[in-house]
């Protein structure tokens, strides 16, 4: 295995691409009690339309997430129990572009790793178990339907996108998941859960060679075919609607405003673009920005205001939101401030201050094994080395951030999603 040091981050990583195409990375953490393994597949909620054996096919919304739930079933029972016997804490998530399975344990790491690799690579579905999962996932979906933060996000995506599957909930809907059958699950597993489409990241005090050897032993020898995917027709640069509003049991209005940004390809340019987008957030509405202070002191916002820049396959957007008595007014102030900063330029001293803070934040995020694994894993799928963060960070200039503000965060790219309290709610409490 090839081992590389990253002195600016105080990190060491061993890497190898196995004969079956699997990327294996081991991040050395000699002083921690826990060990962490993260096994991910480049397949998520957005990959609903794909081509296999020359045939394009459409699958139901929510199938990647459904598959994630069912992977824990094994012919012997359930992998959760196997891991539980060793005291491991396991979980999984499905995002728009990735499904990941991971565990954390302080005992029996190599046994747990075998269990993880085994249950994710060997599918086992029955009519009965697939039918039973409908009830559980339907309750999971019902729970998100009561969650204002989720609903406000869903509303924004529906404003920003016409075609892109980014507007479809990762878990699907109670209706869409009814069409899921064991055969469909087997088909999707066979298409995507192949070593060439996966990555294994381990973080902790372990032997890299042994990790690679176990992965080579447990996983199939073939890398699997490359699967072309389709993310809908080319999106125009403008949102498909400017505003959506919904009433729910909440105490005060909340909103999520967003800007539809140009999509971004892969490679280090993606990492650089995501740093620029994050810095634009800090400069525009971060805790120390003039706008944040002004809005907070005027009582227009509370401490909940925040946002982020997300890059998904074929789509990119910056969002900002929180509680506000007058969401439209706050979002308009943010859009106006973006324009002012782009036209007048960002104050140099302020920019340097934000830069320092952003760099500190980047290093701080490496406290979390999950952040490390998701960062390195995503980098592997999208063609960059996440740990080159300090160097890429150095290359970002004030002009880059100003250009981003001026080109992307404009009125014409903007849309807003609002959740307001049910009528009478506030009066009742006053």
């Amino acid at each position: 295995m090839e081992t590389r040091e990253y002195p600016r981050l105080g990190e060491t990583v061993s890497r190898q691409t196995l004969a079956n195409g699997l990327e294996v990375m081991v991040v050395h953490k000699p002083y921690h009690a826990k060990s962490y393994a993260f096994f991910a597949v480049r397949y998520g909620g957005m990959d609903m339309r794909f081509c296999r054996d020359g045939q394009w096919r459409d699958t139901p919304a929510g199938i990647a997430h459904y598959l994630e739930h069912k992977m824990f079933d094994t012919p012997q029972g359930n992998a959760l129990q196997e891991l539980a016997k060793n005291g491991a804490v396991e979980n999984a998530f499905t995002s728009g572009s990735m499904t990941a399975y991971y565990f954390e344990s302080t005992e029996h790491f190599y046994d747990n790793l075998r269990i993880l690799l085994d249950f994710v690579s060997v599918p086992w579905f029955t009519e009965e178990s697939v039918a039973k999962e409908q009830g559980i996932i339907a309750q999971e979906i019902r729970m998100t339907e009561d969650d204002p933060e989720w609903r406000v996000y869903e509303g924004l995506m529906a404003c920003l996108y016409r075609e892109s599957p980014v507007r479809v909930p990762v878990a699907g809907t109670v209706e869409s998941i009814r069409a899921i059958t064991p055969q469909l699950l087997y088909d999707c597993h066979r298409a995507f859960y192949t070593p060439g489409n996966m990555v294994l990241v381990c973080v902790g005090n372990m032997e890299p060679e042994r990790v690679a050897a176990i992965a080579g032993e447990v996983l199939p020898a073939e890398r699997g075919e490359e699967i072309p995917r389709c993310y809908g027709r080319e999106e125009g640069p403008l949102p498909c609607c400017k505003e959506k509003e919904l009433a729910m049991e909440v105490s005060m209005p909340q909103f999520l405003g967003g800007y539809k940004c140009r999509p971004c390809g892969g490679g280090e340019a993606l990492l650089r673009r995501s740093i620029i987008g994050d810095m634009a957030c800090d400069v525009l509405f971060g805790d120390s920005s003039p706008l944040y202070t002004r809005l907070y002191e005027a009582g227009e916002i509370n401490g909940s205001l925040g946002g982020n820049f997300d890059i998904m396959p074929g789509a990119a957007y910056l969002y900002v939101g929180g509680d506000a008595r007058d969401p439209r007014k706050v979002f308009a102030a943010i859009t106006a401030e973006a324009r002012r900063l782009a036209e007048e330029g960002i104050d140099e001293t302020f920019y340097q201050q934000i830069r320092r803070a952003a760099y500190g934040q980047a290093i701080r995020s490496l406290n979390s094994f999950e952040n490390i694994a998701v960062g390195l894993g995503e980098g592997c799928f999208r063609g960059f080395d996440y740990y080159r963060l300090p160097e890429v960070f150095d290359s970002v200039t004030k002009a880059d951030v100003e250009a981003f503000l001026g080109e992307e965060l404009t009125e014409e790219h903007a849309a807003i999603s609002i959740i307001r309290p049910l009528d009478g709610r506030q009066a009742e409490d006053a």
């Binding site: 826990k34 302080t106 701080r364």
Partner: protein, 417 residues
Amino acid sequence: MARQMLMDNVYLTHIPSEKFKTAFFSAQLVMPLRKETAGRNALLVNVLSRGTLRFPDMGALSAHLDRLYGARLEPTVRKKGENQVFGFVASCVDERFLPGERLLEPMADLLGELFLSPATRNGRLRGDYVDSERANLADLIRSDINDKRLYAARRLLEEMCAGEPYGLSRLGTAREVERISLQRLNSHYQAILPAARLELFYCGAAPEKRVAGAFTRAFAALPRQGAVEPAATTRRPAPEQCRVVEETMDVGQAKLGMGFRTDSRDMPAVMVMNSMFGGTSNSKLFLNVREKLSLCYYAGSTYHRSKGLVTVSSGIEAANYERAVAEILAQLEALKEGRWEDWEFQGARSSLRNSLLSLEDSAAGLEDFAVGQAAVGGDESIPLLLEAVSAVTPERVREAAASLQSDTIYFLKGKEA
């Protein structure tokens, strides 16, 4: 983990560690949790967080934090046993990654200033800050209905522990907070500062002597007089008949909460029992209520160690209420009768060991543990708990389960149901 007295009723816990990217700081006042003062204490830390004499507004304060390489500062209000623990946690990138920089002393200084030299006007806390933080805090308290799961968990405790400090919310109520005047808050600040216990905490690469020196200097001006000791937790038996409280809201998914009391002093055994009951995704509740019967997406239980409570929480279809309650009680019955497979018992102990050991991999986790112990006057340590959990026997688990008494059921359901 070492805890020493720095000044009268002021303690410092120092945990040396080089495994984190950041150094972690905390300064917390500890006072008995009371209905009259809960809101005042919560409002006070939020007002203090707005600025100091040297950094008088949010802009100046955040710019200072930015220059300390994105240091983080957060006002916190927690309930530990029947005490309210309130103050600030802060962290900054460890000096090892910033050659030539010193961040420890400026961080300690800032914590001292937040308590001792807040931004004032005419010698009093600033009225505009009090007004805006009062409104924000009231909004925050009201916003707890947004997350129905947390809301239901809080309501269960409120109903179950009505009349006990443990049933109070850590932030007080919105109505109480809205009634706090500037004058009242000022006199409250003057009254508690000399009297409250102060717990300081540091986890990072700096040696104890340097840390103690930095904190001693930063808090040198802290007045000390009329010490108020943290409260010991009270225990109460369950009522003869389990109480049922129902509430209706416009929600799709109903929330079920069940509260039990235990008089068992065998804490390690209750910990293992709770883990088997609903503490993990391999517990009886998860495997039966969710996996076998598909009644819910989540079903879990929590052991409130210092108070001797076990609470169960689950999200279900309202129509399944009876079945879910029956199934949860049936699973508890199974534990009382010792009906489990060995892996459930081994797995629970192993999972507890895992979570205790993992606590040592998180500075925030260590702080929460240390501050919690200090507040409830506990003498638990992670190594001792690890040993105690490993020594628990199946017989002790059965006894722990048998000690649970149903106290209250709380059910939040949709309007149409």
